[in-house]
Amino acid sequence: MSDDHDHHGQAPPSDIALRVKALESLLVDKGLVDPAALDAIVDHFEHKVGPRNGARVVARAWTDPAYRERLLADAGAAIGELGFGGGQGEHMIALANTSQVHNLVVCTLCSCYPWPVLGLPPVWYKSPPYRSRAVIDPRGVLAEFGTVLPPETAIRIWDSTAEVRYLVVPERPVGTEGLDEVALAALVTRNGMIGTALL
């Protein structure tokens, strides 16, 4: 990734960018971190984990009823079958949306999020507006995403207060009967797996 994209052209790097750089060089100098390991960590979060992983889990659940059953019974093991797992995914629970129940995940206390299946959380997920209002005004929050649910739909909100992480399994969109797993995975969005969007 290029440096600060707020600072295209000739503008100098920001104060915080310089402070981080100074700290990194101090820690390298002291032998506390290896810059190549830092590169590998950044690469992991930019390229190895992300909502594409979760989308594969959801698409498999849509096409394979036995897998769906395993996912809902023991999400960690079922996600592991596809090769995904790691920090911030130690204790996974999958939540299936139905025509009567819609699930919405939040972390009001900080920014807990299932990294192995969804990658790092978007800024809005870890910012005060979403963290404060998802629990008290879910319909108002959903409206800000352009998502409107029928008034009779029950909304179940999941506040990630411990090390348990939640993945929403959205309903399979109608008219997708002919699609294979790969094509279905392409329809699954990050927000759909948090619960702020329908597919």
Partner: protein, 211 residues
């Protein structure tokens, strides 16, 4: 901050990247690779101790950076003088990095667990009615204000998990039973909440009393 109004619009961004600036990625990587002497709960508490008005004005990775600096200082890994000079004390012995490039993928994919052997049998069973205790500790807790004093139902038993309220302060894991507890939105927010909506939280046994 669960339940507060007036903190602004949500402003979702389309096709958001994992890191918006290169320095954010470096902070994230440093927080994983650098020794901090602080466990996950202690690190959360470091971020919570940032004074409220400043906390609300900082971006996410600015908070991480501040917690990282504080952890390095309090863990004795870096001195104030070194931090100010951005230069290692020439007399200090050079350390060996705890994470090598070849280990990164393995470390990040390792499936840990917060589940521990239970100290005693569980006090509550699925279906039990419980009340979240009205506790207001000055230290770290994962009991949100908005459920304190409210009635809920035990929906699932996760087993005994590392207890953050102790772990953040002493490093002792002090495992306690962890329950999924469901509260109706009307119990939490009053009659204006939708009749069938609910909020479920993972709460440790010391947060709960029989109801």
């Amino acid at each position: 901050m669960g339940g507060m109004h007036g903190l602004g619009p949500i402003a979702p961004e389309t096709d958001e990247p994992p890191f918006h600036h290169a320095w954010e990625g470096r902070v994230h990587a440093l927080a994983i690779a650098a020794p901090s002497g602080a466990n996950i709960d202690a690190r959360r508490h470091q971020r919570e101790r940032i004074p409220g008005p400043i906390y609300l004005s900082m971006t996410y990775y600015e908070k991480w950076f501040e917690a990282l600096r504080q952890g390095l200082l309090s863990g004795g890994h870096v001195t104030e003088d070194e931090m100010i000079a951005a230069l290692a004390d020439s007399a200090a012995r050079k350390a060996t990095p705890r994470m090598a490039p070849g280990n990164v993928s393995q470390v990040l994919s390792r499936l840990g667990s917060y589940l521990r052997e239970a100290p005693a049998s569980a006090a509550f069973a699925v279906g039990d009615r419980v009340r979240a205790r009205n506790l207001h500790p000055t230290g770290h807790t994962r009991l949100p204000r908005y459920v304190r004093g409210r009635l809920g139902v035990i929906e699932r038993i996760h087993g005994a998990h590392v207890f953050p309220d102790t772990h953040a302060h002493t490093g002792d894991e002090d495992p306690r039973w962890l329950y999924l507890v469901r509260f109706t939105s009307r119990e939490l927010w009053g009659p204006d909440a939708a009749e069938h909506d609910s909020v479920s939280l993972d709460l440790w046994e010391p947060y709960l009393e029989p109801a």
